[in-house]
Subunit: 380 residues, 2 copies
Amino acid sequence: MEGRSRQPASSDDRPHAQGEPAVWSNAAMDRVRTDAGARPPRATIIDVAREAAVSPATVSRVLTGTKPVSADLEQRVRAAVNRLGYRPNPAAQGLLRGATHAVGVVVPDVGNPYFAEVLKGVTNAAEESDFRTLVADTGEKGGAEHDAALELSRWADGVVLCSPRMPQRELAKLAQAVPHLVCVNRVGRGGQVPAVVVDFEAGMAAICRHLRELGHRRIAYLRGPARAWSERARQRALRAASGPDFEVLQVPCGSSSADGRRAADAALATRATAVMAFSDYVALGVLARFDELGVSVPGDVSLTGFDDIALSELLRPRLTTVKVSKQDLGRRAWELFAASGDVGGGESGRVVTAIPELITRDSTAPPATATTPLPKTAKA
Amino acid sequence: MEGRSRQPASSDDRPHAQGEPAVWSNAAMDRVRTDAGARPPRATIIDVAREAAVSPATVSRVLTGTKPVSADLEQRVRAAVNRLGYRPNPAAQGLLRGATHAVGVVVPDVGNPYFAEVLKGVTNAAEESDFRTLVADTGEKGGAEHDAALELSRWADGVVLCSPRMPQRELAKLAQAVPHLVCVNRVGRGGQVPAVVVDFEAGMAAICRHLRELGHRRIAYLRGPARAWSERARQRALRAASGPDFEVLQVPCGSSSADGRRAADAALATRATAVMAFSDYVALGVLARFDELGVSVPGDVSLTGFDDIALSELLRPRLTTVKVSKQDLGRRAWELFAASGDVGGGESGRVVTAIPELITRDSTAPPATATTPLPKTAKA
DNA sequence: CTGTTAGCGCATTCAC
DNA sequence: GTGAATGCGCTAACAG
């Protein structure tokens, strides 16, 4: 594309670094050998058949193992396959079989360790059944979920929707358009769409109980995305736990650690003795901001998360939270998809519930005094 | 499959929770309506053609926009498409065009925030060009990379290999079998395979310089995976920086925070005044273990990371590290792939280098004394 | 057991 | 401009 030097490129594998915009440099380390487009065209099943001097059908039979083939021919075919490095074209197979052997996964944000783990769970489980995984990252934009799922549904045999933020009726409509839709952390009206969900109510209840037992009476709750089903479940638990001796102050927040960081000040302003974050990921941000403000956890305020991501026990203080097996969530979602296939798509409406477990660590303690402590110092 | 109750399932969307093994419960919330397999079969282009009373070719022309179509017919077709909710079958398109409009991404571990970000970068960039993304997670098993890439190469038009740990010759062989292979953080012999890499040498050099300026003379380095190309690059920088007044002690470690946690004690045992971790992710584990041991950072020892993952500035102390634009890495890899397509696969051997930037934060400080401090207390 | 035939859903030649 | 025919790579039905 651009001019190229004829210099044979230092034999070492060390790239040289030079400026281009910002930190990026386009090392003009041009190709060495000029065997450019000399790549042999991909072998087809016909090539293999010719090579082995058999019919394509025989090759197919050897590879799929559907019908018995004589030992002699089988050897010839295998040899030819290896020699040519033949691998069947999945698109063609899919076209014929009407199934692609792939699953789609829609996540709000792969950067969020929670979803990364769920994705990993699906991927690993799918791999065991020799299924490929397609991902779509909606960037926390609920509006993009519908289209992403619809698109993936054409590529894959089923779609796993992680924590969809879309409205209920949109989900219902989607479920009708997408053959094997499985939700994670969301159950639709009456549970028509198969789902694997965490029992958020139980989890929040456990956290509330823990806080109450420690003596907290005034709690700030950092809300997650308004449209998240899990948020509504949490709210139910909060309502149930609320009372004259257990006041829950709602603070808008979000689902990322950046959101947590931003909301930390507002949480403090409630003069609560404990802060419940929507998730561990959010709590992370809160912790950072509290530290900046010189607010000690749990000395000045207690803090809780949700999910028990790997980081939470690496943090200081180690976070009190509720443990959810994220990879299992993904794996279960996969299983739900796999099962739905067996029954021909009729078996919808299965909901699998994961019971989370309270993990008491260092970020919670009894309130320092009857009244809410204020930051020791402002802005470290 | 199992017996089902006729109970109409509580109209609420709250799943009930009951025991099964461990924390999982299979809520027997059966399907409500019995419209089981009543899903209409997916519409094909022929259905649309019939519905619009035109030929399939016309439908195709409207959808692909290759040839002009009269306004009248165009309207009829579009209406039919909407009515039927038709979406072309990508497998069929792929078969015909010989390209799938998908990229594969092979990562050692999606749970690692570094790779999650790179993956996100690829996904987002691909999406903009209307490409799908396929992922394979090799679980840090270098042996699985080759097969994963090979497999993905049949599904996708190209494959992005993230930080492959496979031996050089295996990579070379792979590059020959996979049409559009792009590496992240690895350049093969002479750079035949297009790659986008971080200039690890520059990064490590910057860290060494920083540490030396602070007065550190005895440093422990927590090694990454032996087979990682980036590790070898780091070693080069270390060798260059080493000298009588700057001693680098090597400690085997790995690439995960769990590895870091395990290696922390050994790092301490070197009696170094500063510890350089292979990555931020590793440093995370080190920090946690140090805290357990009552070793203060940077009071007793300084600690550095690499990559500047989002967490690193949320941690306390905030980690001194070297900043790498992880999403950009992914995006650039995508661009390399896209570009390689334009030139027909001949343009191999492009290497793009990202220059990282030192970020000085709170985890580094001058050494406390001339001699290495020992842990204040053992096992907090 | 093996080879031959047909067609999955689509875009793209060709004729008109 | 439009429609009818062809074939992408593969496997499932049929013959033999």
